[in-house]
């Protein structure tokens, strides 16, 4: 239903008219979304769409609501006390804020990686990767299948070669960059349709950063990715579309190449040329 009416709402600049990105149906569509922390309105009437199988970067100065917007997409925002959401978010055409939708089911379909690595300290490397299946209940694959999936996910996250001989060791024995790739593998293992990355390389060294960026680039096509970043070059390198936020507002969203060459809004230009933020 909602799947069929995407482009009408496609943001200020219009993704549909993108020259370099093929038109794709929106995997996630955000409609008139407001997000609050108590009385503080952190996201203000934001509407935008994340095309299927493509990478969308969200940029903007600190505190502008990027993480909050991201956390509304997998219903994590409401886990903070006093936090509240108004508006709609469609995941593959289905309103995830509808009354009959269980937020736990939403979160299982959407992977999330945070700014700092969050491996479970009491679990081994492999158990971390397959941790998502613990929540799957009866629908979970067999143990043997899970181990295969773990290998597959670790390979995708470019971590397999570094950990294949020590899958039973504690995840804490890994470096920060390895831990972050482990978290990405953990998010990938359950085959989510959408992957939310909140400044995934903020605490990583250049080499680990490059690995994560390559991974994001490779995952395009399979998974719809939303990545929050403070790094303009990173946004330019990995994303098909870029959204710019300011003080809770979505200023504009455009194909990345256009955004960084001829932004439509002068505030966007000021930000990406480093004149503020």
């Amino acid at each position: 239903m909602a799947t069929t009416e995407p482009r009408v709402l496609t943001t200020v600049s219009g993704v549909a008219s993108a020259g370099d990105a093929p038109p794709a149906r929106p995997m996630v569509a955000v409609r008139s979304l407001d997000a609050y922390f108590g009385a503080n309105r952190a996201v203000k009437d934001v509407s935008l769409e994340f095309p299927e199988g493509q990478v969308t970067a969200i940029i903007g100065p600190s505190g502008c609501g990027k993480s909050t917007l991201l956390r509304c997409i997998n219903r994590m925002h409401e886990t903070v006390s006093l936090a509240r959401v108004e508006g709609e978010v469609f995941l593959d055409g289905r309103d995830i804020y509808a009354r009959d939708v269980n937020p736990i089911e939403v979160r299982k379909q959407i992977g999330m990686v945070f700014q700092r690595p969050t491996p479970f300290p009491t679990m081994s490397i492999r158990d971390n990767v397959i941790a998502g299946f613990r929540a799957a209940g009866r629908g979970a694959p067999s143990r043997a299948e899970q181990f295969e999936i773990a290998e597959w996910a670790l390979q995708r996250a470019a971590l397999w070669d570094e950990v294949k001989d020590r899958l039973h060791e504690s995840a804490l024995a890994l470096s920060g960059g390895q831990q972050q790739r482990l978290c990405i593998a953990r998010a990938l293992a359950t085959r989510p349709r959408v992957l939310l990355l909140d400044e995934p390389t903020a605490s990583l060294d250049p080499i680990s950063t490059q690995k994560v960026e390559e991974l994001v680039y490779e995952l395009r096509g399979d998974i719809t990715i939303v990545i929050v970043t403070h790094n303009m070059q990173q946004a330019a390198r990995v994303s098909d579309h870029t959204a710019f936020m300011l003080l809770g507002d979505l200023v504009e969203m455009a194909p990345t190449s256009r955004m960084f060459t001829s932004p439509g809004d002068e505030r966007t230009e000021a930000y990406i040329t480093g004149r503020f933020g």
Binding site: M76, M112, P121
Partner: protein, 288 residues
């Protein structure tokens, strides 16, 4: 005032600092002195009675020499077992609740009551247990003693659990929720599991704390000169046995009391050492 003032203030500050350091060192020594004295005294008075028979034998009637505290040690073990079986689940559950519902009104009430319970004189706990567990059935029992000890233990375990769970970073909770874990599973398999070494330490400290309690047992477990493992019969315990030997008029029994006290102290020491050991492996994770 202008040029010399800073130099003088530095000197004053140094002197003040030296005095403070001296005072704290003195306080630290004073704080550990009693333990050293007690240990020395116990060894001097009790070591001579510590022999094999002390651990395997039963109390002997007045006039006969020798005799041991096997039943008292078994009784203490059993009382600790009962107290732990009740006190640990309740205390850990309450602590988990307090940590996961930090600002709730019920949490405030539970936290306050738990502090009050923690400060309750142990003799009051003993009388309370007697009133509700002994008087109605007209029977002293191991169960009543164990429950009285559990009541002493619960607030300790509750607060220790709460503090340890608060140390678990929120980011872990979020990571589990984002994977689609329900709240209860997040609490059990991630939060509680991560805090477990700290909770075990807290539990051991609580056990060490109640192992030597006497007052709550006086009108509940009551004491027993014979071997008993029945829940519904009076049961002996090390502190009770020490107490009754110590107030007796017989030399022989006095030295048995000293030996019992030495064993009790050793027990507490060992439990504390284990607790220390477990603490060291706590939160080995490298991120914050």
């Amino acid at each position: 005032m202008s040029a010399r003032a800073p130099r003088r203030s530095v000197r004053v500050r140094r002197a003040r600092s030296a005095v403070m350091v001296g005072l704290t060192v003195a306080a630290a020594v004073l704080a550990t002195l009693p333990l050293i004295f007690i240990l020395a005294l116990l060894i001097k008075q009790g070591a001579s009675s510590l022999n094999w028979a002390f651990f395997t034998g039963m109390p002997k009637p007045v006039g006969e020499t020798g005799g041991g505290m096997a039943n008292a040690m078994a009784g203490t073990a059993m009382l600790i077992g009962i107290a732990a079986a009740i006190g640990l689940p309740v205390g850990i559950g309450a602590g988990l609740y307090l940590a996961e519902h930090r600002n709730g009104r019920l949490a405030w009430v539970v936290r306050f009551l738990s502090d009050v319970l923690n400060g309750l004189p142990s003799i009051v706990v003993g009388i309370f247990a007697w009133q509700f567990l002994v008087r109605p059935v007209k029977q002293f029992s191991a169960l009543a003693g164990g429950i009285a000890l559990a009541v002493m233990m619960i607030p300790l375990v509750t607060r220790a659990t709460e503090e340890m769970i608060k140390l678990v970073p929120d980011s872990l909770r979020e990571a589990a929720l984002a994977l689609g874990y329900p709240r209860w599973r997040t609490s059990l398999t991630v939060v509680l599991r991560t805090a477990l070494p700290g909770i075990v330490t807290g539990a051991l400290v609580a056990i060490a704390r109640i192992a030597g309690e006497t007052a709550p047992l006086l009108f509940t477990a009551f004491g027993n000169q014979f071997w008993s493992t029945s829940l519904t019969q009076p049961i002996s315990a090390l502190p009770l046995q020490i107490f009754s030997y110590a107030i007796s008029p017989y030399e022989e029994w006095h030295s048995l009391a000293w030996a019992g006290a030495l064993v009790l102290l050793a027990l507490v020491l060992v439990i504390s050492l284990i607790a220390r050991f477990v603490t060291r492996s706590r939160f080995g994770h490298g991120h914050d």
